[in-house]
Symmetry: C2
Subunit: 79 residues, 2 copies
């Protein structure tokens, strides 16, 4: 089973990397861009798990390793 | 308009960061994990563009700044 986990900064948290990308895009002539936030995506391949088990395990992985829940949000997409 | 851009390493390209996360998860008891690849996600807010214009602009952004197309694939999701 394949899953995608998205980890992004919470909305109140400053994202200097995203801001730098936004201003770079602006400088390149992409005027329409009003905001950029950068996050991480993990593509995780799992063996032998039911959908529910996988979702539960992925949630635990996010809490324990993949995301810093103080400043980051995470979401999980199961294929 | 909101868009999400995913940038991931092409499948043949070594991903030591993903491998490190995979072995960390394994060490924490998540036995079912058979592979991890890490990528980047950009949440981009765009003003005043039609869907087609936005898609075109986002494609150009990926090619010129967001992705290194020699070693990375990208995909765009428009809300």
């Amino acid at each position: 089973m394949k899953a995608r986990v998205f980890v992004t900064l919470k909305s109140g948290v400053l994202d200097p990397q995203g801001a730098a990308i936004g201003s770079a895009l602006d400088g390149m002539g992409f005027d329409g861009v009003t905001g950029v936030r950068q996050g991480k995506v993990f593509e995780i391949e799992m063996a032998d798990a039911s959908r529910d088990e996988a979702a539960e395990q992925l949630d635990a992985m996010c809490k324990r390793l993949l995301a810093n829940t103080v400043i980051e949000d995470y979401s999980v997409e199961l294929d």
